[in-house]
């Protein structure tokens, strides 16, 4: 039962610094942090005050909207600092890890015998619920709604993304357990998409799920693209989304009773001297992960990919959902006549004296320069070439900017996440912040329409 999905619109941005398929086991670092901002829309209520000793899997805080949704500590140790910002907003909860890791025991479970309610409660108790995200709005799933389907994208098409076939090798048992658990959470199907040319994907043998083979340029791996092709979201419908690396954590929890947020992380980008894979725990400090590998001169360290990752710097922490760290050069320099001379070393979708169309296989070392200043929307018709959904991207962006909820709804705002507008933002001649505009628009809708 597999269906092929092929898209034509999109853009593969080829960068230097692809991770070599070697995994180094890193020692557990000492400092970890959980950032509530990783869980967009969640207002934290602190459970573990400063000084509390926690085990791995013990809750640090819960969501203000629903106290069943717990957010666990990824390691055992002591809560040393709760960093607050303006209006006492919690920015980071820092944990100093102990050398000997202790795991809170949630008990082994036989997934096949569990009911829907039991699975849900187990995920709540063990702090695994935040791994389940929902569309619309791209936030942690609201457990009171029934999803019409659950989607897992096991093909990461973003620039330099970690190769799931490699990072998930040997995790078949965990994945199967987690997928079986997911099938209990929905009346509908659990859809899993793998790359069409993948031979090793552990998902090919999974039972109880609907397998799809996808091919085409980025953003084919974005789950919104797949949802739109498989079972588009209509007004009032909800789908849930889980990433493969989080499935492994859920699976391990079900099989062993331990919450183990360790994952294989790809170190990518031109500023790593040896781009490769390492093991790391969610919330780990970047300096621990990148030690001895990072070329520290005017670099930018990003948790996630270059399109929708977050700039964290060397002293920042790995994002809760991320399985990739990217380091690229900062572009804070002027370029003489950079706006009119022919360009060979940058990516462009036009041919306006930009020559990336000559050599589509070439890998580029792009920096963070904006290549121009912010302008009003002028050029039309370019976004559509990299935007595979049946949505008018510029019209939706403008609707978000002037906050017309009816129009946003009509134009398909329920079907999208900010990451879907990463490519249009990348090619935008007017250098508009598309992902931010979409995020603010979705927040407004969530506030007004629920």
């Amino acid at each position: 039962m597999s269906k092929d999905i092929r898209i034509k619109k999109g853009l593969d941005i080829k960068l230097v610094g692809e991770a070599e398929q070697i995994t180094t086991e890193l020692p557990l670092g000492s400092m970890f942090a959980i950032k509530p901002s990783d869980f967009h829309g969640v207002i934290p209520k602190i459970l573990a005050k400063e000084g509390t000793e926690v085990k791995a899997g013990e809750a640090l805080f819960h969501a203000k909207s629903d106290e069943r949704i717990l957010f666990p500590s990824p390691v055992s140790g002591k809560v040393t600092e709760i960093v607050r910002g303006a209006r006492r907003k919690v920015l980071e909860i820092k944990i100093t890890a102990t050398a000997q890791q202790e795991y809170k025991d949630f008990g082994k479970k036989d997934v096949d015998a569990m009911s829907s309610e039991e699975v849900k409660n187990h995920l709540f108790a063990s702090g695994c619920w935040p791994f389940v995200k929902q569309r619309p709005y791209d936030v942690v799933a609201n457990p009171n709604q029934a999803p019409k389907a659950i989607f897992v994208s096991a093909y990461a098409s973003a620039p330099l993304a970690a190769d799931y076939d490699y990072t998930l090798k040997g995790k078949e048992a965990e994945l199967q357990a987690a997928l079986t658990a997911l099938t209990k959470l929905t009346e509908g199907k659990v859809h899993v998409s793998v790359a069409k040319n993948s031979t090793l994907s552990p998902f090919k043998e999974m039972k109880g799920v609907e397998l799809h083979k996808v091919s085409g340029p980025h953003p084919v791996g974005n789950v919104s693209t797949q949802i739109a092709q498989i079972d588009p979201i209509n007004k009032g419908e909800v789908v849930w989304v889980v990433t493969p690396q989080d499935l492994v954590v859920i699976g391990e929890l079900l099989l062993t009773g331990k919450f183990n947020a360790k994952r294989t992380v790809a170190l990518t980008g031109s500023k790593f001297s040896k781009p490769q894979y390492v093991t790391a725990v969610a919330g780990a400090q970047m300096s621990d992960i990148t030690k001895g590998n990072l070329e520290t001169d005017n670099e930018r360290v990003i948790s996630g990919n270059v399109l929708s990752g977050e700039q964290v710097g060397e002293n920042g922490f790995l994002g809760y959902y991320d399985n990739q760290v990217t380091a690229i050069p900062e572009g804070d320099d002027y370029e003489f006549f950079g706006w009119n001379k022919p360009v060979f070393d940058k990516v462009s979708t036009s041919r306006a004296l930009t020559f990336s169309w000559l050599n589509p296989k070439k890998k580029y070392d792009l920096n963070t320069n904006t290549n121009g200043e912010h302008r009003a929307f002028v050029v039309t018709g370019a976004y559509e070439e990299v935007f595979p959904l049946d949505i008018y991207p510029m019209q939706l962006l403008k609707a978000c900017m002037y906050k017309d909820l009816d129009e946003m709804e009509g134009l398909g705002a329920y079907e999208i996440a900010p990451e879907d507008f990463a490519l249009t933002e990348f090619i935008c001649v007017s250098k508009q912040p598309h992902q931010k505009i979409i995020r603010e628009g979705l927040d407004l809708m969530r506030e007004e329409l629920g």
């Binding site: 002027y334 990336s356 963070t368 200043e373 009509g410």
Partner: protein
């Protein structure tokens, strides 16, 4: 290195002041700014608005140069007689005498257009405190190319001021305007000073001053002759190469075609609009040809001359080619959806030829057709986008039914 550092220090000094946009406007011409991405994507594509606009200007430069030579050529030809069957590279056309006549007239027009227009843009940017947008770079180049050669500079200055303020800035500046600013300027000139914009005395340099004297010269455009049911004395190759009287930059269909292909190749100009405009014009011209063939219009009718013109020749004469390639494709005032662009372009072509044939006072329709469709572009887009919205609603209904 020294210059770069000095300019950087100056930029920091002006930061936050009223003059910052002005300084940055010039600074960014020399250097691509040192801005880095914050939030959102960490990398950006190579194109910015300056590059996009620059490509359009590059596509216009051949038309401008040709216009200069043609101005001189028309002037001398009106006095000494035309060369028959010139090839495109003929020395009778490409010579210094011709260039000097043209350059002396045209360069001041270009300078006035840019100085007045950019000055107004700067003032508005400083008042509003936003960066100087590049929109006027193209407009300022288009304007001198679509006016008659003998237009007094003060008229151009007044028209540019009107066009930039009323056509663009009152709507919020670049990206917000409804009408194409260059055509707004031309329309203002046309309605405010009609005697300078039409007739048989404005298209050739010096024709107006010599009128009534013994040396009087005249230069009627092809359309002008046709409107009077007179056969134009230009061959098809003259029209295609552009050795005919007309607005400064609009005569050479060959160079406009090359410019259009360049814009399409660079993906800056919309091929949908250009192609559909041509199709629209051909369809309308063909319909008129049929009307003549059926005998509904006699040779005595005042529409006979233009209606009987072979339908494909409409593309070669007047400002149609220039309008379809450089004016209709302005992304801000055109339709913004791909489907909408087909409709928008087709109607421009269709209505251009219709107005051209039926306009009693002035036998050219492309300016008015584009302005009219500019007004309707948002409506076209609205219905195209509603189609998408309806499809989405239908999908939801099928699901629940």
């Amino acid at each position: 290195m020294g210059l770069k550092q000095n300019l950087h220090n100056l930029k920091e000094k002006y930061k936050g002041t009223k003059m910052a946009p002005l300084f940055n406007g010039f600074h960014t011409f020399l250097y691509l700014p040192n801005e880095t991405t914050h939030g959102g994507t960490h990398i950006k594509a190579a194109d910015d608005l300056k590059r996009t606009m620059n490509i359009v200007i590059m596509a216009l430069v051949p038309c401008l140069l040709f216009g200069m030579f043609n101005a001189g050529y028309q002037h001398y030809a009106a006095i000494n007689g035309f060369t028959e069957g010139m090839s495109f590279f003929s020395g009778d056309f490409w010579n210094l005498d011709n260039l000097l006549v043209g350059a002396a007239k045209i360069l001041p027009l270009v300078i006035v257009s840019y100085v007045v227009g950019l000055a107004i843009e700067f003032v508005f940017c400083i008042i509003k405190g936003h960066e100087i947008e590049e929109g006027y770079l193209v407009t300022g180049m288009l304007v001198p190319l679509i006016v008659p050669i003998d237009l007094p500079l003060w008229m151009l200055a007044v028209a540019v001021a009107f066009g930039v303020v009323i056509g663009k800035e009152v709507f919020g500046g670049t990206g917000m305007n409804i009408l194409n600013p260059a055509l707004t300027i031309r329309a203002f000139l046309f309605f405010a000073y009609p005697t300078w914009m039409s007739g048989d005395k404005v298209w050739v340099e010096g024709a107006r001053e010599l009128a009534g004297s013994a040396d009087a010269i005249s230069g009627e455009t092809v359309l002008g002759s046709l409107a009077q049911n007179a056969a134009p004395n230009f061959s098809v190759s003259d029209m295609f190469f552009g050795f005919i009287p007309g607005s400064i930059g609009e005569t050479s269909t060959l160079l406009i075609l090359l410019g259009g292909l360049f814009l399409i190749f660079t993906k800056i100009g919309s091929w949908r609009i250009m192609l559909s405009a041509v199709i629209g014009a051909l369809v309308m011209g063909f319909i008129f040809n049929q009307v003549v063939d059926l005998g509904w219009i006699g040779e005595t009718s005042k529409f006979y001359g233009l209606m009987s013109l072979d339908f494909w020749k409409h593309l070669l004469v007047g400002g149609f080619a220039f309008g379809a390639v450089y004016m209709a494709t302005d992304p801000v005032s055109a339709s913004q959806t791909n489907k909408g662009k087909w409709i928008y372009g087709f109607l421009i072509g269709f209505i251009s030829i219709m107005i051209r044939v039926f306009n009693p006072a002035y036998p050219e329709g492309v300016m008015l057709a584009i302005l009219l469709m500019n007004v309707f572009a948002p409506t076209i887009d609205h219905y195209v986008v509603q189609g998408n919205v309806k499809r989405r609603l239908k999908r939801a209904k099928v699901k629940t039914a």
